[in-house]
């Protein structure tokens, strides 16, 4: 009898470890943001496999927000109250993340945002909201620092989509160039999905800026560069901040994408532990190059799941462990710190890259560089 009781006790004590950790995922799996959302989905799927190998059992609850904040919010409500998840990884876009962040705080559910850029998300003192990627100000400052170190730009033109991501990235960029003595000669926002940016670009061309700073998602990035070539916009450098300028589709359009400078959170040639291996396995499994979103999502899921397991599936303990923990993996060193008004923000090192001969090559910082930067931008053919 006593033996049986002991066994039962042992079994009970073991259950929290064996029990699958229930973790929510909110992502844009359909809708206009789906092409990038797919990277996040794949990254998380790869993480799920690796976790299983490590003996961390996770049960993922997937929610599709279709890129709309209101759907994202109802997904969060469901995950927090009905599904009772330990933590949530996601959502993708800034607008969705910002909406969901406040709910995470309300329901006291640890939320780890993998790849949303808007700064405010981690600047509201929300204790349950963590972010893996570097926020928008880092995009802007690393790109402008790169341009300033390569040449002597005096003027800059901004063109960005009028969404949370576009306006917040370019706002910080504008504040940053002011401190560098670079003059803003054009400042244009556009509604995404327009067919024709020629008139706007012609207007920017008439100002003859040294730098053109663009913030766009995938399709618009290609359209903007095509039409820049059409109207003959010829700055010293095209700086593409974020999403649209760091995709394989964009690099494939060599006639218009070569020599565009962008920055990214991650590439597979960086020497962070496991980065190369992650890139290779991702390509083998999904037949596509991973974007930084995939790596961010992968690292986020690994950290969330391991922390949740170590905390026995308890939300409060998970939150505390995320706050105090330190990791080193595909995303380099990760620590959720409080600095410059940010709360629980990973101070991530951005990589500046340039498309050279149809391939993304890291050009800055020097210790990660694979090629030397081409500057100024060559004349359009």
């Amino acid at each position: 009898m006593r033996k049986h009781l002991l066994a039962l006790g042992a079994a009970l004590a073991l259950t929290p470890c064996l029990m699958a950790q229930k973790i929510g995922v909110i992502n844009s799996m359909s809708g206009p943001e789906a092409p990038i959302g797919e990277n996040i989905t794949n990254g998380i799927k790869l993480a799920e496999e690796d976790l299983k190998k490590k003996g961390v059992n996770v049960q993922l609850v997937w929610e599709d927000d279709t890129g709309k904040p209101q759907i994202s919010m109802s997904a969060m409500e469901k995950l927090a109250t009905r599904e009772n998840v330990v933590g949530v990884v996601g959502p993708y876009t800034s607008a969705c993340s910002n909406a969901v962040a406040k709910l995470a705080e309300k329901y006291k559910v640890p939320l780890l945002i993998p790849a949303a850029a808007k700064e405010e998300i981690t600047r509201q003192g929300l204790t349950h909201v963590f972010r893996m990627n570097a926020p928008a100000d880092k995009y802007a400052s690393s790109l402008i620092d790169a341009a300033a170190s390569l040449g002597k730009p005096k003027t800059i033109a901004f063109i960005y989509e009028n969404t949370d991501f576009g306006t917040s990235t370019s706002k910080t960029a504008k504040d940053y160039v002011a401190t560098k003595g670079i003059q803003v000669v054009a400042d244009v926002s556009y509604p995404k999905g327009s067919a024709d940016y020629r008139s706007t670009l012609a207007q920017i061309k008439s100002k003859n800026p040294d730098l053109v700073f663009m913030v766009s998602y995938v399709a618009d990035a290609i359209l903007l560069m095509r039409q820049s070539r059409e109207v003959g916009l010829q700055p010293q450098a095209f700086l593409g901040a974020g999403a649209g300028f760091t995709t394989v589709e964009f690099a494939k359009e060599r006639a218009i994408s070569d020599n565009v400078i962008s920055c990214t959170q991650w590439t597979d040639d960086v020497n962070w532990p496991g980065a190369k291996d992650f890139g290779a396995r991702y390509k083998a499994k999904f037949g596509k190059e991973p974007t930084y979103h995939a790596a961010c999502a992968y690292a986020s899921m690994i950290i969330m799941a391991e922390t949740a397991k170590a905390s026995g599936g308890d939300r409060t303990k998970t939150r505390a462990a995320l706050k105090s923990g330190k990791w080193n993996g595909v995303m380099g060193e990760v620590k959720f710190a409080d600095y410059d008004g940010f709360t629980n923000q990973n101070n991530h090192q951005m990589l500046v890259q340039q498309i050279i001969a149809g391939k993304y090559e890291t050009v800055l910082p020097a210790q990660f560089a694979t090629k030397k930067a081409i500057y100024p931008f060559p004349k359009w053919k």
Binding site: S30, G31, P32, A34, P35, E38, I159, N162, V188, S189, Y190, P191, G193, S194, A195, D196, Y197, R198, S199, T200, A202, Q203, K205, S206, V218, A219, I222, L223, R226, Q227, R229, E230, V231, G232, E249, E253, A255, I256
Partner: protein, 289 residues
Amino acid sequence: MAVFLQSLISGILIGGVYALIGIGLTLIFGVMRVINFAHGDILMVGMYLTYMIFTLLGIDPFVSVLITFPLMFLFGGFLQKVFINRVLDALAQNQILLTIGLGLIMSNTVMLIFTSDYKILSTSYSSATIKVGGGVSVSTPLLISFLITAAITAALYWFLLKTDTGQAIRATAQDRDAAQLMGINVKRMSIIAFGLGSALAGTAGALISPTYYIFPQVGSVFTLKAFVITVLGGMGSVVGATLGGVLIGITESMSAVYISSGWKDVVVFVLFLLVLLFKPSGLMGKSRT
């Protein structure tokens, strides 16, 4: 000045394609009094058709219009015969629900087949330009598509004005019952009208695809635009839709430069409201009693 000319030219060129979309919608409305909410999705189908023909058969998007047009005509005729004809006498909201439903089925089917990835159709001339001088350049693909649009519109006018079938379509549009009493097969005219409308939308899709991008939800952008154009020009008026399309193209382009890119839609809708306020039946529309 260069900026002004540049935006005027791109406005007119892009407006030409808008006009083609608008004409298709107005034709369908004129003949059947059915507001086709699937119009943008039909355009999207045209885009994917062009994309397939280009990637699988290697036929240039502009040449493939010759294939796209008849195929989309058949597709439209099929939709009309199988679905729309059944609700012609039903309540307006039932017709709207049917076309919205058809649109949803189209976009989701395409999403299942092609996934939601953006497709970019890159031709050798996708970003080619013709320099006009004075710092103004004209996008080659846009110019070609404008010329094709103009040719199609002219052919359509000729068809509607000079041929027997064209006159029968116009008669059906004017008064369905009277046309039927005169011995016109109105059901058949409806099929032709819907087929033509779809073919025009599909062609517009084909013409935009070398310069735009293709994804399953692209239709909604153009459905809304087609409405504004059609209502602005006067529901059912082909001339009005042509005028409306070019007008919207120029307005978008000009307001992007002189007001702000982010406000161009607002300018378009304010213009739209003003026209409705002073001429409720649209620019070329006849008021109905």
